[in-house]
């Protein structure tokens, strides 16, 4: 950061006392920026491109960002506190509202943690349904992300419309299966809430079969677009070491070449059974982060096809699981899954009572924002918006 020998507020300590240079101090707030050359602006919490109520305090030298401080908490709705005063089951519908694009993966992460805590087994059909719904969630999250990213770059409308069009088809599937478009509340400890309605799996197959056509269109529209490349390549480069040290996860981490996908590393659910590849980038810039999502969608389609071919009949809930009066034995567990945004973890401590003693969510969106300032420094202010868009945050999860 450039140093600015600007005005410093000089405050004498005591009138009449002998003064040396030590007697002067800087007041907080009157900082190095007030020499007139730098501009401090606040982007958000109401800003069209901060993806919700996110706020960034940006210091600009002309158009160049010299300092950026994210400000959180405008959507802090006390999910953890509420969950600690309610039963284990009651927290499940609240998890839908964490990352409100991906309610089903949130359900899964929470169910996984509770299953670890209570030692429940998930029947095979339920595992298949979990994989199918989670991969559909990944698809609809990534198409929306790509649309919003383009919107942030000024491609107002078209890519977002195309993205939402495909998302609607997937939301129709969710609505037919779970009863709600966004807040599915579908998974239960030891399985899923209800079996598929008749003909649902065929509907999924139809959507899966038509999705590659959409992806081709989307790539034709965008991936080789000169404006997109100019706005994203070389912008917001994240280095491998910083990414690991800062705990970055998900496609943002893999865009700088780190091979770490929890579906492979932990092998939770039935993922070890499926053949799929993990896309990796080399540059860690905004374009790589965008391409990670596009390539991941193609792999997700492959997983979906395999799952639809192999899904067996059978029960969907562990008979040991209880809806009411669920009390796990004292202990603690940390369950994590590869959510579309990164590693989503739930840390639970049980003291044997019907409500969790400690209920903590490890939000990928929040932790991925650790490096936001590092990515934005030295770029133009308009690029902060694309960098933020490519990190893919959802404020419900950042602030919880």
């Amino acid at each position: 950061m450039p140093s600015h020998g600007g005005a410093t507020a000089k405050v004498p300590t005591e009138a009449g006392a002998p003064r040396g240079p030590d007697a002067y101090r800087l007041t907080a707030g009157d900082n190095e920026y007030d020499d007139g050359s730098l501009l401090e602006i606040s982007m958000g919490p109401q800003h069209p491109s901060t993806h919700g109520v996110f706020r960034m305090d940006v210091v600009l030298d002309g158009e160049t960002v010299v300092k950026l401080k994210p400000v959180f908490g405008y959507l802090h709705r006390n999910h953890e506190k509420i969950a600690e005063s309610a039963s284990y089951l009651a927290a499940m519908p609240y998890t839908d509202r964490l990352d409100y694009f991906c309610s089903l993966t949130n359900n899964w992460a929470y169910a996984l943690a509770v299953e670890k805590l209570a030692g429940l087994q998930v029947p095979e059909r339920a595992e298949f349904l979990r994989v199918i719904t989670a991969e559909l969630t990944r698809l609809q999250n990534h198409v929306c992300l790509a649309g919003f990213l383009m919107q942030d770059m000024g491609a107002s409308g078209t890519p977002l419309m195309y993205g939402f069009r495909e998302r609607e088809k997937i939301l129709d599937l969710f609505e037919a299966l779970t009863g709600a478009r966004m807040m599915c509340n579908y998974m239960r400890f030891g399985g899923c809430r209800c079996d598929t309605p008749p003909g649902w799996l065929e509907e999924v197959r139809k959507v899966v079969d038509r999705f590659p056509r959409f992806l081709d269109e989307f790539e034709n529209l965008l991936s080789s677009n000169e404006i997109l490349m100019a706005r994203t390549q070389g912008i917001g480069v994240l280095t491998r070491d910083l990414a690991i040290n800062a705990g970055i996860t998900g496609p943002v981490l893999r865009s700088c070449g780190v091979d770490y996908d929890l579906r492979k590393v932990d092998g939770y659910g039935l993922y070890p059974k499926f053949q799929f590849r993990v896309p990796l980038g080399d540059h860690g810039d905004t374009y790589d982060r965008y391409m990670m999502r596009i390539l991941e969608m193609r792999e997700s389609l492959g997983i979906l096809r395999q799952a639809l071919d192999a899904i067996p009949e059978g029960p969907i809930l562990d008979p040991k699981s209880k809806l009411r009066g669920f009390r796990p034995k004292p202990g603690e567990a940390y369950g994590r899954i590869e959510a579309p945004k990164g590693e989503l973890g739930f840390y639970l401590i049980s003291d044997g009572s019907p409500n969790p003693y400690r209920y903590r969510i490890r939000p990928p969106s929040l932790i991925n924002l650790t490096v936001l300032e590092d990515l934005c420094l030295g770029h133009n202010v308009a690029d902060t918006v694309t960098i933020l868009g490519s990190i893919d945050i959802v404020l419900g999860e950042v602030d919880r």
């Binding site: 209570a118 705990g247 996860t249 990796l280 080399d282 903590r360 932790i367």
Partner: protein, 237 residues
């Protein structure tokens, strides 16, 4: 800044299957504390390290480290050539308020001992839990716990942000919601609540503000509060 607008060639992702990430079959399990402790004792003289058991089925035990050596222990865990815990996934606080427990103690003259129930006060403390994984060796988790001596004034712990940057925002959150003071944290401000907020809301003894003017479906405490409010309103009108 890199030149923009040039061809995509420099940024093309290789679609060759071999270039994609691969499955790490059967990730190696982490060493037990007994295997690590001798090495650690040499590296950090005076460290106390103990295992906190976890009775949940299949869940991993956690390691409690004293707060004076927490920072050097964290550096050791990150830099040790077999552990290589380069990724700190989750940081969270846990509030354990003061509680009384009943213990059975044998008392009386030797030979004529009696079993007496005594109540004992377990002092409260705040605990910070770190979940560590290794991205390089693909193993984990190692659960690291650090505790403050009390919940009142002495609530400072060393910040592990110098070791793992991922702690930066999460430790700020713990400071905000639990009131743990992290020494040497680069930017210790409230993360979620506004500046000027005076309490730590995730502590177990936090009392939320009373704003229950209209409660058509009240229960338990809220019912009582709504009743009290109604009574006040009737008295004032």
């Amino acid at each position: 800044m890199a030149a923009t607008g040039d061809s995509a060639a420099g940024h093309r992702l290789n679609l060759d299957p071999n270039e994609f990430g691969t499955t790490s079959e059967s990730s190696a399990s982490v060493e037990t504390l007994e295997q690590i402790l001798p090495r650690m004792k040499v590296a950090i003289p005076g460290v106390t390290f103990e295992v906190v058991p976890n009775s949940a089925p299949g869940a991993e035990p956690s390691w409690l480290v004293d707060r004076e050596h927490a920072l050097s222990a964290a550096f050791f865990l990150r830099d040790d050539s077999t552990l290589r815990l380069d990724y700190c996934s989750n940081v969270t606080g846990v509030d354990w308020p003061e509680r009384t427990i009943k213990v059975k103690v044998r008392k009386g003259e030797p030979g004529a001992e009696k079993e007496v129930e005594e109540t004992r006060v377990v002092p409260g403390y705040l605990e910070v839990v770190y979940h560590l994984y290794s991205m390089a060796a693909k193993h984990g988790p190692v659960v690291l716990r650090v505790r403050t001596p009390g919940r009142g004034n002495d609530v400072s712990l060393p910040s592990l942000t110098p070791v793992w940057r991922s702690c930066e925002l999460q430790e700020r959150e713990v400071y905000d919601l639990f009131g743990v003071h992290f020494e040497n944290h680069p930017d210790l401000r409230r993360l979620l609540m506004w500046e000027g907020f005076k309490d730590h809301p995730m502590r177990k003894d936090y009392v939320p503000p009373d704003d229950y003017e209209y409660e058509p479906t009240p229960h338990d405490e809220i019912l009582e509060k709504a009743q009290a409010r109604l009574a006040r309103r009737e008295a004032s009108s």
